[in-house]
Each structure stands twice: as C-alpha cells, then as structure tokens.
C-alpha cells in the first residue's frame, strides 16, 4: 500500500501527525489485514449486519 496515502490518513483524517511519521512500521500489517478482510467479505450476504453476532450469541444463550 502506498505509504503516502497512510500518512495522509493519519495527518488529515485522524489529525495525528506523529502517527503519520511512524507509518512505515505498520504499513505491511495494515495492507495484509485490509486485503484479507476485503476478500473474506466478498462471501457476506447482502443483508449482513455488524449486529448479527450479538443476535447469534443471544440465540445460543439457553440460560
């Protein structure tokens, strides 16, 4: 991933110039995780929700 983009995200979206200076050490990790999840999310049904997990847990609770 282009480190300049990450530097801009840190400085201009998160207003964290110090973090922008340290981008080099996290860029590979961010790139890898970003790609893996983007690929995995292709399998998600259209109507998936971030609230599915709490609902699934509640259904599993027999107490």
């Amino acid at each position: 991933m282009n480190e300049d983009i990450l530097r801009q995200v840190a400085a201009e979206l998160n207003f964290a110039p110090g973090a922008a200076e340290r981008v080099a050490r996290v860029a590979a990790l961010v790139d890898d995780n970003n790609r893996r999840i983007a690929d995995a999310a292709l399998a998600l049904p259209f109507d998936s929700s971030p609230y599915d997990f709490p609902a699934w847990l509640a259904a599993a609770d027999k107490s």
């Binding site: 207003f15 110090g18 961010v30 995780n33 999840i37």
Partner: protein
C-alpha cells in the same frame, strides 16, 4: 490458624473457613494486606492497598457473622483486582502515566456484585500499560515479577492479578481478557484464567481496550474457585454441578495452526494432560482448524480500531507518555477504512460457526495449547533486535487472540512445568456459554493432578 496456613487456603476453603467461624475476616484481611505489602511489593504486583477501608469492612463482616445473619458466598473474603476496575472516587490509572490521576465516578458492576457477595475489595494490582501486552510489559511501573522466577515474564495484561494469586497473597482476582490477558498470566503463573463468553460478564466501569473483544473474568488457583467467582460476577450458578465428572465427555484436539509453533516440552506436557483426561473417561478426537490468518486479521482490526478510537486524542496530545511498544499496537487502527471494520463485525457469527464446526465438531470442548512456547524471560521480550522481540510477543498470543474474535469461553489450566521450572498450561475452549462444561473438565483434571498445589518459593510460605 497460623498466618501461613491462612495464606495457603484457596478461595473456596477460605470462604468456607470464614463462614464456619474458623477464622475471622479481620485475620484473613490482615494476612492478605501484610503479604501484599511485603511479598506483593517485592514482586512489583501492587498498585494500591486500601488498608483502613479493608479492615473496617472486615470488622463489619465479622460482626455480621456473629449476629447469625445469612451470609453471602464470599462473605469476608479479601480480594484485590487489576487496576482497570473502577470504584467511584478511587484512582484508576490502567497501568498508564496518562491516567495516573484519574478518579472514576462510577463503580464497575462486577465490583458491585462482589461487594454484594460479601467480598472485601482491598486494593488494585499492576497490569500492562492500558492492558496492552501479553507479557505484562509496563515501561512506566516496571514489570510485575513472575513468582516462579522473577527473570521471566508473568504474562499480561492482568500481570499483577496472576502474580498475587500464584504467590498466595489473595485467593482470587478479577482481570480482563481482550486477546488472552487472563489466560496468559494464568498459563505463565500456573493458574486457572477464565475468559467468559463475550458479553456474559458486564464490562461497564472497566476501562475499555476494545469493546467488541473485552471480557472480565477470574484468575484463581482452582477451577472450583473460578466457578465461585464466576457465579458472582455473572449472576449464575457455575458451581453446583462442578463435581458431576467428565465420563463420556468428548474433547477435540485441533492440529494444524495450533501445533505450528508448539515447543517439544510443551507438547509433552499437553500429551500427558490428554492422557490424564482419557483416564477420567474422556474420549478425544482430532480436528483441523480453518484459516486462522483471517481470524487473526479480523481480531487485529477490531482491537486496533477500537483502541485507536479511545486513544486517538492522547496519541496526538501526549504521544510521549505511551511506551513505544504500546503505541505501536494501537496506531494501526488509525489506518483501516470504516468498511473493513464493519465487515470484521459482520463476518463474526459466520466465522465463529465455521471455527466451532472445524475445531470442536461433534465434541464438547476443544483443547489447545494456552501458550505454544515456554514462558519467555523479560529480557527476551524487551531487549535485542526489535524483530526478535516482536516475534516472541506474537508467538505468545498465537493460540489465544483468535478466541476473542470468536467470542468463545476459554480457560487456561496448569499442566506441569518446563525445563526452567516455569508453568505450562493447556487451554479449554467451548461453545458460547459453555463455561460450566469448561470448569467441570478443569475441575476433574485438577482432581487427578496436583500442579495447582505447587507453591512458588517467592510466596515465602516454606
């Protein structure tokens, strides 16, 4: 009863002795405070002791007992907890420099539940800075020291909790677990560290690290003690069927990823534990985990994004007040698009179902290593080539961090020692809300073994 004899009691034995009037709460609390002040300070495990308040509460507990009133399950039992649990108007630094003067204006629900159970809250314990390290690393306050050998890490982030329970300073302690922070000190100090199902135990009034992953749970010497504490903090009954046995239970042993880093000595201890479980009537089956790289990626995104959201302001205003090792774990969360974060949450039920089907299958529980490698030294996790340090730290969470994304209950169970005399543990993982099954298996195993009775020299009880 002598001071040493009181200190040697586990949580349930101490609660029973107090209820029977064999010892007073004042005596038990005095012993705990004295030992925390001496041994606990020596092991750098204590943040703060509330002596006057603790002894006043102990006197009140003794008066109530002699009045003949019905007593709650932890009546008069002195406990101390990770310095992440708020009590209104008390300091709560979270192991950090940034919150050194922070006073909470609320009391954590779990602390209120312990108060209602009769337990005495006598102080707060050391932890990794902002609960952000599997070793217990705290650049500002120094490492808490492992009572089995002070050159080795105690495990974190609930490091002080692990140290004081292993050293017999208190009989139980609450900690939190976002990527293994109860199971790491449990495994490295020789204790049961129980991470409940996500959401089972309230986390309000506990300084958050990652709300989607954080769990509150107990660190104790025995599974029975863990069941007693969980019954209080989860408002359930995890103790009454503990002794039902495990004849007929099936435990799955996932291979693949969970064997990749396994040290030969740890492998031998795990195999010995499996043999012991089979002798108790357990059937074992082999299973194979799904792609764990995606599980770890999903966990990392949730943890770092949620932590970065909490810490962003301080990262800008007070970056110098974070240890670099801690800042480096938070900052990746600034860079993921919001779509990745929502996708990580949206995938969670599906990925968890896949993991359960692959790893537990038709069994009741899965048995994993708690930590794949022997307990490392403090030097191995702080000095030398940063890449080597990062590798060791990552290896420590190899078998724990994914379980937090899955939201499943899991516990470390001590199963022997390595060549350096440091504890080794296995980890039992269950389906959602299978805490009672995990504790029943751990209790049966502890009934057939004596690892949890071993006392480190640093406890100064010999």
């Amino acid at each position: 009863m002598t001071q040493h004899a009181i200190a040697a009691l586990d949580l349930c034995a101490l609660a029973d002795a107090l209820a029977a009037g064999d010892i007073t709460s004042v005596a038990a609390t005095t012993v705990a405070l004295q030992r925390l002040e001496t041994v606990g300070r020596k092991l750098n495990a204590v943040v703060r002791l509330d002596n006057a308040r603790a002894l006043e509460a102990a006197e009140a507990a003794d008066k109530l007992r002699t009045s003949g009133a019905a007593l709650p399950p932890l009546h008069g039992v002195p406990l101390a907890h990770k310095d992440l649990f708020y009590r209104a108007s008390d300091l709560s630094a979270g192991g950090s420099k940034i919150r050194a003067r922070f006073r909470a204006d609320v009391t954590a629900t779990v602390i209120e539940r312990l108060d209602a159970s009769g337990a005495l809250d006598i102080g707060r314990l050391q932890l990794a800075e902002f609960a952000m390290s599997p070793t217990g690393y705290n650049e500002h306050n120094g490492h808490a020291l492992n009572p089995w050998n002070p050159s080795y890490v105690p495990g974190g982030s609930s490091s002080g909790s692990g140290v004081v329970v292993a050293a017999r300073l208190v009989a139980g302690s609450l900690g939190t677990d976002t990527g293994g922070s109860l199971r790491h000190p449990g495994a490295m100090c020789g204790l049961v560290g129980l991470k409940p199902t996500w959401g089972l135990v309230p986390t309000d009034g506990v300084m958050p690290l990652s709300a989607s992953l954080d769990c509150t749970g107990p660190l104790t010497r025995t599974a029975r003690d863990a069941a007693r504490l969980l019954s209080v903090i989860a408002s359930g009954d995890y103790e009454s069927r503990l002794a039902d046995g495990i004849e007929g239970m099936t435990i799955a042993i996932p291979g693949g990823y969970y064997r990749e880093l396994l040290d030969p000595v740890v492998a031998v201890r795990l195999e010995q534990a499996v043999v012991a479980l089979r002798h108790l009537g357990v059937t074992t089956i082999e299973t194979a985990p799904p792609d764990m790289a995606i599980v770890n990626a999903l966990m990392q995104v949730l943890m770092s994004v949620e932590a970065a959201t909490i810490h962003r302001r301080w990262l800008i205003e007070r970056p110098q007040d974070y240890a670099d090792q801690v800042r480096a774990r938070i900052e990746p969360g600034l860079f993921y698009p919001a779509t990745r974060y929502v996708e990580a949450l949206s995938l969670r039920a599906r990925i968890t179902e896949q993991w359960i089907a692959a790893c537990i299958g038709t069994a009741d529980l899965a048995l994993l290593p708690a930590i794949s490698i022997p307990v490392p030294t403090i030097a191995a996790t702080t000095e030398g080539d940063p890449a080597d340090v990062a590798r060791v730290i990552s290896q420590l969470t190899h078998c724990t961090r994914g379980i937090n994304y899955l939201g499943l209950p899991a516990a470390s169970v001590p199963c022997g020692f390595d060549g350096a005399g440091m504890p080794v543990a296995f980890q039992l993982v269950g389906r959602p809300y299978a805490e009672a099954t995990i504790l029943r298996a751990a209790h049966a195993y502890q009934g057939a073994t004596d690892w949890h009775h071993r006392v480190p020299a640093a406890a100064e009880l010999q």
